[in-house]
């Protein structure tokens, strides 16, 4: 589809043609409502003693956070990565492997394991960044369909490595017997853990927002819209894209580390191509390149999974139909429909 010429940025100021925005408009209202719902629903569930729903909210928050990472690549950077499960799963494996070694006191590559979440998060972010740096450096030499397929292929490489490497459970996965710890917080408590996940989500949203409002964000937008024009301005698109790709992977990886802790389990299914696809679906359902799109998409996706999954075993059949309908007929995504159009094409 051709893209119409558009405003240089999707910063609020650029998006409204008619002067400065009012402090409270429809868009902010919708975003605020989403966040409030996200925060208050599990608090209420916890008060009612419904731990299941608190954990469901944690799941939504983490899936949304992973999708926020992917949205930075796809939506803001125009890099259609079909391999973000690699980072999600790697983050998960960092949490699993670190806990495993902390549990039996053995060393991993000369380092002791740790069940401190802060150590795990740091390691997950760094390792995902390194992996994305390597994959991005090769994949970003290509464009279009090649990029989609190459990112997919690299993620499959990581997947097959995980299934065939026997030390950490191979195909069976690796259990985390006791949720990793954070000083001053009872991570076993469902609501406390949800708040950690929610903080992670907020952090990733804030980071993306700051990034896209900076000079870097302007350059990234221009790299997506018109590479030549960016180059004319004396900025090489490749490093800009690579940095965005790496940051995107780091966010998704951190979400993965938390996700493994939520489930107490990490397995190659966290690395599977289906998961990459689902993350893409969430980004699209919510609205591509919209800051809050992934959150709306994640809420919709997990709710559909829970509700339809309760009605029929074959819920993904209906997910397929819904998705097909969205792609063919409703390309703005949920956020576009709720909060008004901000971006076309």
């Amino acid at each position: 589809m051709t893209r119409p010429h558009l405003s240089p940025l999707h910063s609020p100021a650029a998006a409204t043609p008619a002067g400065p925005r009012r402090w409270l408009d429809r868009r902010r209202l919708v975003h605020g409502a989403l966040l409030a719902l996200m925060l208050l629903a599990p608090v209420a569930a916890d008060l009612l003693g419904e731990v299941y729903y608190v954990n469901l909210a944690s799941r939504i928050a983490l899936v949304a956070m992973a999708a926020v990472g992917l949205n930075l690549a796809i939506g803001f950077g125009g890099m259609i990565s079909f391999g973000h499960a690699a980072y999600f799963g790697l983050g998960g494996y960092v949490a699993g492997i670190s806990a495993y070694h902390a549990f039996d006191g053995s060393l991993v590559m000369g380092l002791p394991g740790s069940d401190d979440m802060r150590v795990i998060w740091l390691a997950a972010v760094l390792l995902c960044g390194l992996l994305a740096l390597a994959i991005g450096a090769i994949s970003l030499r290509t464009t279009g369909v090649y990029f989609i397929m190459i990112t997919l292929a690299f993620a499959q490489m990581v997947y097959y490595f995980a299934t065939s490497w026997p030390d950490y459970g191979g195909e069976d996965g690796l259990p985390i017997y006791l949720r990793n710890s954070l000083p001053g917080v009872d991570t076993q408590d469902a609501l406390s853990f949800f708040l950690i996940c929610f903080a992670g989500l907020m952090l990733s949203l804030a980071l993306t927002s700051r990034l896209m409002k900076s000079r870097f964000g302007a350059a990234l937008t221009m790299a997506r819209l018109n590479e030549t024009r960016l180059a004319t301005a004396g900025i090489s698109p490749f490093p800009i894209r690579l940095v965005a790709f790496v940051v995107s992977a780091m966010i998704t990886g951190l979400a993965g580390a938390l996700y493994a802790d939520l489930n107490g389990f990490v397995s190659p299914s966290m690395l599977s191509w289906q998961l990459s696809g689902e993350l893409m679906v969430i980004v699209i359902l919510g609205g591509v390149g919209r800051l809050y799109g992934p959150l709306a998409g994640a809420i919709l996706f997990v709710m559909m999974e829970t509700l339809l999954g309760g009605l029929t075993e074959y819920w993904t059949f209906f997910l397929g139909l819904v998705l097909l309908g969205v792609v063919l007929f409703a390309r703005q995504g949920v956020i576009g429909w709720l909060a008004g159009s901000e971006r076309h094409g």
Partner: protein
């Protein structure tokens, strides 16, 4: 490492290569002519395998089953093109990926709904169930050799079709300039449906043939699909020649790597570690191959166009 084992694995690699070619040629044709990336290609592979297994089970004739499988895959392809794919030409790749991802969900869950999760079984026909002696004394199943022969025949047929028929001429014209052949009065919509159905039929043929070697089950198409992606990325998207070369390369490297690497690592490692490291590396080998090729030729070996 005995020579016999090596020869056996070499033939296995060729067989995987021909299978991958059947899948990859359809993908690359569809991309070359219509500029469409189709994730649901693996679903046609599954349709072919299911219809062949069911028809063979009810009629007792593998040949009849094979024909039914290929026709069903072609029909499924034509229907999907008319209903969905047609709306995706000229859309962004992202839309194409998502819509065809949705098609995978619909096909896979639909099949599970109709036939359940337990796999169907399909045996090779009686006449081909024997084995022949290889040089060195080992026996090799005839059926696998027949698959290779079918693959070679299809490759030759595809070459003749594309190089020497009117349809082939239109396909080639479509690859180089879509608008122009439309302007010249070729019914481009029918051509697209035809090309898509042809690709689906090739995938169905691959599924039908392989169905006799492994379990026929939901999700069988996607691992092959991803390998086929690697093949066309290596070969150059849109190039049939590239698909053939890429398929053979991937088939041989993957099969031989799984045998040779653990043995190679065994030379300087403890046997248990060598098996683990060798297997893990072998599983990644084709992706490493792809990365290396792309590092030097970002457009693949035979770049057509993007």
């Amino acid at each position: 490492m005995s020579v016999t084992l090596l020869i056996e694995q070499l033939i296995n690699g060729l067989q995987l290569g021909t299978m991958l070619f059947l899948m990859a040629s359809g993908l690359t044709l569809v991309f070359g002519v219509m500029g469409l990336i189709n994730l649901a290609h693996g679903s046609f592979y599954m349709v072919g395998a299911y219809v062949t297994a069911l028809t063979t089970a009810s009629t007792g004739s593998f040949l009849l089953g094979l024909a039914a499988g290929v026709l069903a895959a072609a029909a499924a392809g034509a229907i999907v093109e008319l209903l969905v794919i047609r709306r995706l030409y000229g859309r962004q790749h992202l839309d194409q990926v998502l819509a065809t991802f949705a098609l995978i969900l619909i096909f896979s869950e639909g099949t599970r709904w109709l036939f359940g999760s337990s796999p169907l079984w399909l045996s090779p026909p009686e006449a081909l169930s024997g084995s022949v002696a290889l040089p060195g004394g080992a026996r090799y199943p005839v059926y696998r050799l027949v698959i290779i022969a079918v693959g070679v025949a299809v490759a030759a047929g595809l070459y003749l079709l594309i190089a020497h028929t009117r349809l082939g001429m239109r396909i080639r014209a479509g690859e180089s300039d879509r608008e122009m052949i439309g302007a010249l009065g070729v019914n481009i919509r029918r051509l697209y449906t035809l090309v898509f159905a042809l690709g689906a039929a090739l995938a169905g043929l691959a599924g039908s043939l392989v169905g006799a070697l492994q379990a026929v089950q939901v999700g069988m198409g996607e691992p092959v699909l991803i390998l086929a992606f690697v093949v066309i990325v290596i070969g150059g998207i849109g190039s049939i020649k590239g698909a053939l070369l890429g398929a053979l390369l991937v088939g041989l490297v993957d099969t031989l790597g799984r045998v040779l690497l653990p043995a190679l690592f065994g030379q300087f490692m403890a046997p248990s570690e060598a098996a683990g490291a060798g297997t893990a590396l072998a599983a990644m080998l084709i992706y490493i191959l792809m990365a290396v090729i792309l590092a030097f030729k970002p457009q693949g070996l035979f770049a057509a166009h993007d």
